[in-house]
Symmetry: C2
Subunit: 271 residues, 2 copies
């Protein structure tokens, strides 16, 4: 039934675009976009600059993918989108199921279709894990969506406390971020390796969130030791679609011209 509906949509669209005189087809009403790529909301530098207003509802974001990471309006926690379900790890360390009317100021999603799988049967720390992924998919100018279901001997995450306006820059917020340490926990890593050229727009390199299987915790991953697990990678991304919050005054007025690499480093990594 699902497939038939999708085929119907495709056939109807082809018919419409093939109709004579329909040269303004690209002016048509907004549609969810095509498969095999990454969709992101706003830019990481806007988030670093303190633009925490929600730009897109989770309901809309879901149309662009079933897998991804991000944050919520007001910086109210870390987002994990897994199998089409959103999870929110708030600053209290707990996992919540956000309403689809909630909005995000920054997120990256994809329709996850793994093309590389690897069983991990010996312990790996985060650095060894990065080397494993880089070895399996060395193309550093390509995006790679990363999923690991595994058992972790150690997991260190953080979340971020919800902010009130006027919003401080992200590097200020994360100075006092709550950090969570877990031992012998089963869960899922969800994230991306992004090319260097996304600098300013997204997070170059690895950006990974964690969700415990028993929903006892999660967050933005700072460090871990993986005991064993199953790695799945989706390396087939033909486009990056950046949704620009053109109507946002905060976005319009933020300074997105300076190099925020050092801020990003301080925000993303373990100190």
């Amino acid at each position: 039934m699902k497939r038939r509906q999708v085929c119907l949509a495709a056939a109807l669209l082809l018919a419409v675009f093939a109709l004579p005189g329909c040269r303004t087809a690209f002016h048509a009403a907004p549609l969810p976009i095509q498969p095999g790529g990454i969709t992101q909301v706003a830019t990481i530098d806007a988030l670093l600059a303190g633009v925490y207003d929600g730009h897109m509802s989770l309901a809309t974001l879901k149309q662009y993918g079933d897998f991804g990471i991000g944050t919520f309006e007001g910086l109210d926690g870390e987002m994990i989108l897994l199998d089409g379900v959103f999870y929110k790890v708030r600053a209290d360390g707990k996992v919540y199921l956000p309403d689809l009317t909630e909005k995000t100021p920054f997120a990256s999603v994809t329709g996850f279709e793994p093309d590389i799988e690897a069983a991990i049967e010996k312990p790996l720390d985060m650095q060894a894990f990065v080397e494993l992924v880089d070895g399996l998919f060395p193309r550093q100018n390509s995006f790679c969506a990363i999923l690991v279901r595994g058992d972790f001997t150690r997991m260190r995450t953080r979340s971020v406390p919800m902010q009130q306006k006027p919003y401080p820059p992200l590097a200020e917020v994360t100075k006092n971020q709550p950090v969570f340490d877990f031992e012998n926990i089963s869960g899922v890593l969800v994230g991306f390796r992004s090319p260097d050229f996304v600098k300013g727009v997204n997070v170059p390199g690895y950006h990974i969130h964690f969700l415990a299987d028993d929903l006892s915790g999660g967050g933005h991953v700072l460090n871990f030791e993986l005991k064993k697990g199953l790695l799945k990678m989706d390396t087939d991304h033909g486009w990056l679609n950046i949704h620009l919050p053109a109507q946002s005054e905060a976005f319009a007025e933020s300074d997105l011209s300076s190099d925020r690499s050092h801020e990003l480093e301080s925000v993303e990594k373990e100190r």
Copy 2:
């Protein structure tokens, strides 16, 4: 008739996506994407690095817009896309109509729908023109597509000679670029003002090409003096869609991690 077809497509799509259980809609077959944004092929840094292989046919690119600029496979001239028609200004200074099977290594297009218009009735040099556009649309974090039909007392353009493999970097090519000077010529400026955060991905600031009304010349604009004309700007861009040449070995192997701002400056501007 056109509008009815477009509305029909929108209604059918909404119906399809609203159907229960259709959660893999974003995995459907490739479609031209939604309106109100910019589509670009590959990245400017890949072009600077010498990746001149064509990644997308003009026929496909046309599905994403009727207006834009770029270049051609092998760096064989400057592209102008105007009212859905591609023009190629080659290194001999002449204007050609490229076949739609030709490919582009780098281009930016949009479905041009101007929302700001201004009659220019007194002479403006390029700097005064930039100040005019910035004044009419000060949002520097937004894209702006720019069209001017006008009479120019002076126009200086350049094109680029077709390259053979192994391709040299763009900054090497433009050291010997043919430059064309025109006096009292009528024509069209086509281009974009892009936000600073596209650094590495596209050209921050102004990037404008020219096409003479009598098709006697054109190219990448280095400088001009506008006598009078009509300026149209499309400032409503809700997304930037970057097509990534994921299958290209040259793209995969190019160094896209270094800061090529100085190379870009030397390539884009008048020396």
